[in-house]
């Protein structure tokens, strides 16, 4: 590169207990350029950002900003130095208003007290700059939907006049229209001389935005290259460090139609989030749910598992009408439904409890007699599941929070497979999982379907939907807009249906992909 870097990181290392998150990491960031960072989960990207933003302290190494060596004792220090980060876990305070959040660490003051009117004006300016002028500055953040909150987060970052802006998966919650607006804002900032660091899994976004890319693997900087000089496959291979081929197991031919449906849904509705949904799933089928984020997919899965109250319509299991009143009813032998939930850390696992306790938690009735736990049965089932899923855990008595993300997700899946469920529902099961474990999960799903389970599978990853599912139901506004199967199941068709437009008629290119 021609000009000296605005920011440089050399030999930075960080350990968490026995895990090396970063080792001898280096990074160079230039002003007026967008620098993308890629890598699997666990590659060190999050830790890298947290060190730059002052959230955690590095164990070794140095950082230089504009030629001077810097060390940040806290996020406030980093912000003062001009490094602002938009995190994946939002940093907005739910009970404060939008305006209060935007100016949160340095509100305008008059006679020592906060000046409400000036605060509001500053907030409105920041919102306009971020392309989110429709958000009312006095609204409480907790009352806003996720996509609006992300826009507030971006406005807040811009309000701090950063020299370096870091975006960590910042567009994952946004609607397509917002993504376009944000890209425009980012390009304008680049023209203004800002340095932007962009972490994302979405190749299309990176292709559109980035000037150069860096790949991280196992806590180290593997390579830096100019954007567009490597194919997607090459990049993925750099990320996982091995040959990358044929992710998805082969799909069987279409099943014969005299087998009765395991799960049948008729005109299912719930508040205004689900409208008149009807579909059926046969044993052995993998049915996918597609569409943009937030069109009701999550609610549909929760409804099938008995979490939602006041559902209209009818659900039939094995042909018989079923009133599923709660998760404990859903998992009972009568219905045999299992749900792998959206967030494994807060919904799927008890992180401080042992691997063994977590594995057995949905099957306590199966390993106990009259309320007392039978240790032999417990041990047998635990070993069975660890073998079946290849869970890498040195000692099952260790807390499950010490396992890697992929292994944690395997524990969640194993927890349910212990019950041999007939109907398996999965809510974005491979989000934030390394590529290797993803492949294992795809193989597992096909195996389970072949053994007779009916699988309903929501994913935000189009390639996954195309590769794993026999059929895909595309949801829009809480209703099924289209069903795609066989040769009709293509990325183009998925995107077109997701936007609720006809085939091939001016579909907007979305930033979603592997």
């Amino acid at each position: 590169m021609d000009a000296p870097p605005l920011f440089r990181m050399d030999g930075v290392g960080k350990r968490y207990g026995g895990v090396r998150a970063l080792e001898n990491a280096t990074l160079e960031v230039q002003a007026g350029r967008i620098h993308a960072i890629l890598g699997e989960n666990g590659a060190g990207k999050s830790t890298l950002i947290k060190i730059m933003a002052g959230v955690v302290a590095p164990d070794s190494g140095r950082m230089t900003l504009a030629g001077r060596e810097v060390a940040f004792a806290s996020p406030a220090a980093a912000i003062k130095a001009g490094i602002v980060c938009i995190f994946q876990e939002l940093s907005l305070v739910p009970d404060l208003t939008v305006a209060e959040n935007i100016v949160v660490d340095d509100p305008p003051r008059r006679f020592g007290l906060i000046d409400g009117a000036k605060q509001r004006r500053l907030a409105e300016a920041a919102l306009a700059r971020a392309g989110a002028a429709d958000i009312h500055p006095l609204a409480l953040v907790k009352d806003l939907p996720l996509s609006r909150r992300q826009m507030v987060e971006i406005a807040k970052a811009l309000g701090r006049n950063p020299k370096i802006l870091i975006l960590d998966e910042a567009t994952s919650a946004l609607t397509a229209a917002d993504v376009t607006k944000v890209f425009g804002v980012l390009k304008a900032l680049r023209a203004d001389g800002l340095a932007l660091l962009y972490i994302s899994h979405r190749m299309h976004e990176i292709a559109e935005l980035a000037d150069e890319c860096t790949v991280f693997r196992n806590g180290q900087n593997v390579t830096t290259y100019k954007s567009g000089t490597k194919t997607d496959n090459e990049v993925v291979e750099l990320m996982i460090g091995r040959e990358y081929s044929h992710v998805f197991p082969p799909k069987p031919a279409a099943t014969s139609s005299d087998v009765p449906a395991a799960l049948e849904v008729r005109k299912l509705g719930w508040t205004d989030r689900l409208n008149d949904i009807s579909f059926s799933v046969k044993p052995g089928e993998v049915v996918g749910l597609g569409g943009l984020d937030g069109q009701g997919q999550r609610e549909l899965l929760l409804a099938l598992f008995g979490v939602l109250r006041g559902c209209r319509g009818e659900v039939r299991i094995d042909g018989k009408p079923a009133a599923i009143a709660s998760p404990s009813a859903a998992k009972s032998d009568r219905f045999g439904i299992a749900l792998i939930p959206e967030d494994r850390k807060t919904e799927g696992l008890m992180l401080a409890m042992s691997v063994r306790d977590n594995l057995c938690f949905a099957s306590l009735d199966r390993i106990s007699r009259r309320g007392v736990i039978d240790r032999e049965t417990e041990q047998r089932l635990v070993e069975e599941m660890i073998d079946l899923l290849g869970i890498k855990a040195a000692d099952t008595a260790m807390p499950v929070g010490t396992l890697s993300g992929g292994n944690q997700q395997k524990v969640v899946i194993a927890k349910w497979l212990m019950r041999r469920p007939r109907i398996i529902i999965l809510n974005d099961p491979t989000r934030g999982i390394d590529v290797g474990t993803k492949q294992e999960i795809y193989q597992l799903l096909r195996k389970l379907a072949d053994a007779g389970a009916a699988i309903v599978f929501y994913s935000t990853d189009y390639d996954e939907l195309i590769g794993c599912c026999d059929r895909v139901l595309v949801l829009y506004d809480g209703a099924i807009k289209r069903e795609l199967a066989g040769s009709g199941l293509t990325e183009h068709a998925l995107i077109a249906s997701a936007l609720d437009i006809g085939d091939g008629k001016g579909g907007q290119r979305l930033g979603v992909s592997p």
């Binding site: 806290s74 996020p75 406030a76 940093s91 404060l96 208003t97 959040n101 906060i114 006095l138 409480l140």
Partner: protein, 326 residues
């Protein structure tokens, strides 16, 4: 036009508490043989203000998602201390009052140190510090006794312009001098943020440690003002364990009735004041409706139980059961 709607939505708890208190008081005054007279208002105000100060103290801490189970004991401690030093000449009394307030501040500081910088869980830490404070109170006054400057006591528990209770004016002054600057300052905002989402507050670079520490300090100060007022009422200092306990527990009730969320992040000390006044008025209502005073504790308990059950009705209507869990 929409702006005031947002404001109302945010202050809902406080407005509701105020409304409930006003309704209860009107009912009480209308049934009272002396009617809506200055005397009636003064007596009610004097009783209610004691709990109001302690409730304000608790509200400050609860907003940061902490809890202070020693506020009742600071109240008692400062009462005993005041009975020793808050009298004599004007100069002596003034110094005495200042010393008492400083003592409350010191107690709050101790709480702040062990909870924030010692990183101990507030429930247990403040139970323990409460025991220490009570011990000091007992050392000061093993038997009830002492005195206080009678002129000051009469003035602050009497009426101004013959109508307005002085205690209410003092309450107002304290709100203006302590609560308003706190809630409008960066520290106050950090306090709310810490209670709402500590992670978000930390990532946003807010001074959460300082905010929580100040909350505990001010809680000590406010409890001390309450203790001073108790001395002005009773003219004595008494290390009554049961009373201290009661004030602590009632302060939590007042805070809840006042619309402050026990989880932190929302509500205001003004709501807690109305909650305290409303809670106190329950006993008065019973008296005025000729209920056997024997039934008063039961009624206070039932009203509390009913009030908290009702405020949870919203949660019952929830359509997505996952919202039950934090």
């Amino acid at each position: 036009m929409k702006d005031w709607r947002y404001w109302v939505a945010r202050q809902r708890g406080t407005l509701l508490a105020a409304g409930i208190f006003v309704a209860m008081f009107i009912l009480y005054a209308s049934r009272h043989p002396a009617g809506f007279s200055a005397n009636v208002v003064q007596t009610a105000a004097n009783k209610g203000v004691l709990l109001a100060f302690v409730a304000m103290a608790q509200a400050l801490v609860v907003i940061t998602s902490g809890i202070d189970l020693s506020v009742g004991m600071i109240f008692i401690l400062t009462n005993c201390l005041a009975s020793w030093i808050a009298f004599g000449s004007v100069m002596q009394t003034a110094l005495g009052v200042a010393a008492v307030l400083l003592a409350g501040l010191a107690c709050g500081t101790i709480n702040g140190l062990i909870v924030i910088y010692g990183r101990l869980q507030p429930i247990v830490a403040t139970i323990a510090s409460g025991a220490v404070f009570f011990g000091i109170a007992l050392a000061l006054r093993p038997q009830p006794g002492g005195q206080v400057n009678p002129d000051l006591a009469d003035a602050l528990t009497g009426r101004v312009f013959g109508v307005v209770p002085a205690s209410i004016l003092v309450l107002l002054a304290v709100v203006l001098a302590v609560w308003v600057p706190f809630s409008r300052s960066l520290t106050g905002r950090a306090a709310y943020a810490a209670g709402s989402s500590e992670i978000a507050a930390y990532m946003s670079g807010l001074p959460i440690q300082r905010a929580k520490f100040v909350a505990y300090m001010l809680a000590g100060l406010l409890s001390a003002i309450g203790g001073l007022f108790l001395t002005f009422f009773t003219y004595t200092g008494e290390a009554a364990f049961a009373s201290g306990n009661t004030y602590t527990l009632y302060s939590i009730a007042a805070v809840v009735l006042g619309g402050v969320s026990l989880y932190g992040g929302s509500g205001s000390a003004i709501g807690a004041i109305f909650g305290a006044l409303a809670f106190r008025t329950i006993g008065d209502l019973l008296f005025v409706f000729d209920f056997d005073p024997l039934w008063q504790p039961l009624f206070q308990g039932m009203v509390l139980l009913l009030a908290v059950s009702l405020s949870s009705i919203g949660l019952l209507q929830v359509r997505n059961r996952l919202e039950w869990f934090g």
